[in-house]
Amino acid sequence: MTGTGPPVAAVRKAAGRLVTLGPGFGFLTVFLLVPLALVLSYTVFRRGRFGGVVHEPTGENFTRLADPLYLDVVFGSVKLAVITTLLALLLGYPTAYMIAKLPAKWKVIALVAVVLPFWTNFLIRTYAWIVLLNSEGMLNSGLKALGLGPVELLYTDGAIVAGLLYAYLPLMILPLYSAIERLDPSLREASANLGARPARTFWSVTLPLSLPGVLTGCVFVFVPSLGNFVIPELLGGGRRIMVGNLIRDQFLKARDWPFGSVLALAVIAVLVLLLFAQAWAARRAGRDA
């Protein structure tokens, strides 16, 4: 009797874990880990003539990455993603701060407003930007009326950044909001009570304590911005190639799967580094909280 008790409990516990974790893990294994492993393995083989790979080991896919032509694309993409992330932070922080200070009823309304664009199809929203920005578009008609236009807005880096910013700003606002909202209001009061002006309180208390939210928001915006290929195509007019476009072209147009895999791997490496940095900073901040 006494011997059968614990094993039964252990089996039950294991079964419980399998039921709760199993479906999610299974899905991720089949559709994320296996494809990822395939992509990794492609990097060391020669390309097949009509796509796919020939199983002959080679290192030339990696040496090709060092070609300035491709490095420029990678760095250019990183630059646009960084600009987008910084602008999202500059716009998102004040917004999140104000929402966090609203009365409870208005908070909900404001948060719904922030995520509302997600209810419309991403492509449709991006096309709307073309209507806004083209030479006969609303912005240029306005500029013309003022005698300032038309200005070339569409098919510029600026248009790409505007599109990325528009698409991912909510992903900056939401984590910032939750970080700021969580701050004990008495900390700001204590700062004022000790003689700090509002600006000093912000720099010395509010901002440092909301840093984990800042980092999360930056990762949330940077990651999809870096890999995006639809917005550069539609709003950049194909003049600016981002690394996402390059990867897609390698697989679908150039049929160079190994090199596409190397590029994908490079993007993944950048993102993993970033996630490590974010986790490290969040742990540091979490220790203090």
């Binding site: 004990d184 009061e189 204590a190 004022a192 000790l194 003689g195 909280a289």
Partner: protein
Amino acid sequence: MTLISIDGVSRRFGQVTALDTVSLDIRQGEFFALLGPSGCGKTTLLRILAGFEQPDDGKVLLDGEDLLAVPPHRRPVNLMFQSYALFPHMSVEKNVAYGLERERLPRQEIRDRVGGVLETVGLAAQARRRPHELSGGQRQRVALARAIVKRPRLLLLDEPLSALDKKVRAEMQLELKRLQNEVGITFVVVTHDQEEAMSLADRIAVMRGGRVEQVDAPVDLYERPRTPFVADFVGANNLFEGRVTGKGLEVDELGVLPAPPSRPGEGAGLAEGSRALLAIRPERIRLTPLTRSDEEPGEHGGGLTGEVVDVSFYGGTSHVALSVPGHEGHVLAATQGPARVDVGVRVALSWAAGDATLLQV
């Protein structure tokens, strides 16, 4: 000398009146307590003094000058928060230095004063720790150090000891008093704990429902409560409601209880025949065990008899709960040392007329 003069201050939050024309004078150098149950407005008053709230009506003067016109960060008033509100991302010394840095004092002076105050609160060895590495008592000391290092005219303490366990609490009470003597700053402490207020403060304002019920020294508050609420809230008390007669207070079903004669000029409403509340402290009640021959009701001083239903021994004192026929709830008596009566014993209750207090109802 008056340091803070609060004059007719009111504050409403929607339908709720948190403060209702409160007027108080707080003297330079005194240890003042705002005492009352939660929701009595004491915290709102504290937040008005700190500048986190503005009253709807009334004036607050500090040294005769309008305090309400001064923004919070310029007031010579520091607050020790109930939650301590220590900055989690700064070390102990950084927390304490924060207020001095805002005054743009020379580095050396900041270092000296921070070192000095940490020495005072006994945390010099923990200067480089973060708040989360400290115990509750230590955090409380940091909060205190951070508030006093600025040498404010007025130090506000919001439920300063509520988060501490009993032993640390008693220790900190002594320390707070010693500190107050040492630095000579005016202290205003907000608390719902009447024992804490009694042991710390020079004067106490008892608040209820946004109003000040009574302002007095602890001993006066205890011995001469002026309202039924104060009599009930401050310390344990036994209350009897009845009608004033020449001999005492006549209570339905209990007879005439010993009460002080209404003195002329005091309590105009306490004329013979008016309704009044008699308050008698547990330690003023004498208990005399009844023998069988006393079983019939007779004259036993007060004329009350009851049965002991519970005896609790607290070391220095014992509390005896009695049921008295005709009185709702228990009557509480306190004796020095162990009680000399047992549960189930019938006793006579008596007290000197002068020990009781009559209150207008």
